[in-house]
């Protein structure tokens, strides 16, 4: 039997294959990458009966228009996503997120856009076929590592599925992508490089997400953050969530494809529990930061993790 695959009729803005990411390679300059909104990624895979670390198609803003050229597929879309299923006979069905459906040969999936959010996920039963580098097929476009020669998908590309026949199970969950009022922060290692006024501003004023935001990082603008010690430090390791402040005073938050080392002072680090919500903020959105202690951040992560597990357990 021929392999099942989607052909891309419209690529969308940033469509890539992602799994849980590539670990243990920071020291050679490769970030973890991986699905940027982990919870939505996990939900999508569990809905189609996949193991956690299965490759999904991640898209941002405008998604792709895909045609299933061969085979059948059991699929689901998660996130806050507007999409249509265009059947072979041209009938159009309005898509519903968090609810599995099946596609037959020559059906199309038109992922029109994410709604007041950035990222969404398309998962298929048994996953997409990826090319593995250091244990992950996640596409990291900067270093051209991962599936599809490390590039985001473009028109006429094919995305192959791991199986061509399906055993479709109708599954759905009710899930609401809640917005977050505050992004919670731990003090960064250079917190004291900044003036008292700026430290106060950072935790009391609003910051706006700018258009210079992608999988590498999020640039935000608000009151200028004034450095009173040194605007450069000796380059050192970074992690997702670190907030660096370059000499222009506008903070940059490191996201999944961040450079592995950097030389700007770190004012704070976003707590792990808030990563999924942070990345879904669109340019123009405003955000406020709230300072927490390490023990609180750890508890909040446990809570986040328990919530995720509870959602996944509902899918049976």
């Amino acid at each position: 039997m021929s392999e099942a695959y989607f052909e891309i009729l419209r690529a969308g803005i940033n469509s890539t294959l992602q799994d849980e990411g590539r670990f243990h390679q920071y020291h050679i300059g490769l970030p973890i990458s991986g699905a940027i909104d982990k919870r939505n990624y996990l939900i999508s895979n569990h809905l189609v009966g996949n193991k956690s670390n299965t490759a999904s198609l991640e898209f941002a803003y405008q998604g792709p228009l895909l045609k299933l050229k061969s085979g059948r597929a059991s699929v689901v879309i998660t996130g806050d996503v507007i999409f249509n299923i265009i059947r072979k006979n041209s009938e159009i069905e309005e898509g519903v997120c968090y609810q599995t459906f099946s596609l037959n040969q020559d059906d199309q999936l038109d992922i029109i856009s994410t709604n007041k959010s950035v990222y969404g996920y398309l998962s298929v039963q048994k996953g997409f076929k990826g090319e593995y580098f250091w244990g992950s097929c996640s596409i990291h476009t900067k270093s051209e590592v991962g599936s599809n020669k490390g590039k985001k998908f473009s028109i006429n590309d094919k995305i192959f599925l791991n199986q061509s026949e399906i055993n479709h199970n109708s599954k759905k969950i009710d899930y609401f992508n809640s917005k977050i009022e505050f992004i919670r922060i731990l003090k960064g290692t250079n917190f004291d490089y900044f003036s008292d006024k700026s430290k106060k501003d950072f935790f009391s004023k609003e910051f706006t997400i700018t258009k210079l935001t992608d999988r590498m990082g999020m640039r935000i603008k608000g009151p200028k953050i004034e450095n009173i010690v040194d605007t450069n430090i000796k380059s050192e390791g970074l992690i997702k969530g670190v907030i660096q402040v370059p000499s222009d005073g506008d903070p940059i938050i490191m996201l999944s494809d961040h450079g592995t080392i950097g030389g700007y002072p770190k004012i704070g680090v976003v707590i792990s529990a808030d990563h999924d919500k942070l990345v879904q903020l669109t340019p123009g959105n405003t955000v406020k930061f709230k300072l927490v202690e390490l023990s609180e951040a750890e508890k909040l992560f446990q809570l986040y993790n328990l919530e995720t597990k509870t959602i996944l357990d509902q899918i049976k």
Partner: protein, 224 residues
Amino acid sequence: MIKNISNLGDSAVYCDFGDKVTKEINSNVIKYFEGLKKNKILGITNITPSYNKLIISYDLEKIRFDQIKNKILEIKTEDINSDENKIIKIPVCTDEEFCLDTERLSKKLKLDIGKILNIFFNKKYFCYMTGFIAGMPFLGDIDKALRLKRLETPRVKVPKGSIGITEQFSNIYTYESPGGWNIIGNTPTKIFDKLNQDNPLKINPGDIVEFYEITKTEYLNWNE
């Protein structure tokens, strides 16, 4: 050897080896890096050595800061031998097309271009760390006469292969990337090879790099 240990966010440990950048401090960092790789502490997802810091990232589902901190402090590094320094020769073309900043350097440093290149090529460089982008080596130390700050406004795109200098360091842009270092040449050689997953880097921390000049014709016909 670790002067201070603290948390970086809720899922990384920040080990500070001091403020200075010296080979001795850097080799201590590398010894801890090697020691941690051998000890395989549960939950570690990444270890990032740099000039004088070591950052250990971990999976918060598996371990917390207080627990991992103690395990890190128990690491013994006395019996770890750093690998012998390898000498890596890197070809560089300094044709005008590639020397994006030599004129600027010449004016700022009050040295003619020939002299700048001469000083640059007459030294061996130690690789302190790799990263930022895949395989980028951070080398040092460049001669005191050539030390200058980064560009005030970084370039949006520095061409792949560019050789940069700033302060006491030199680097190689392994991919096209944003960057603010002063560019004085370009290498045609591949520094990062993703298809060689066991050994993807041409230059590893601890290696010694010797740059040598090649002509534009040699550059254009480079084949490896």
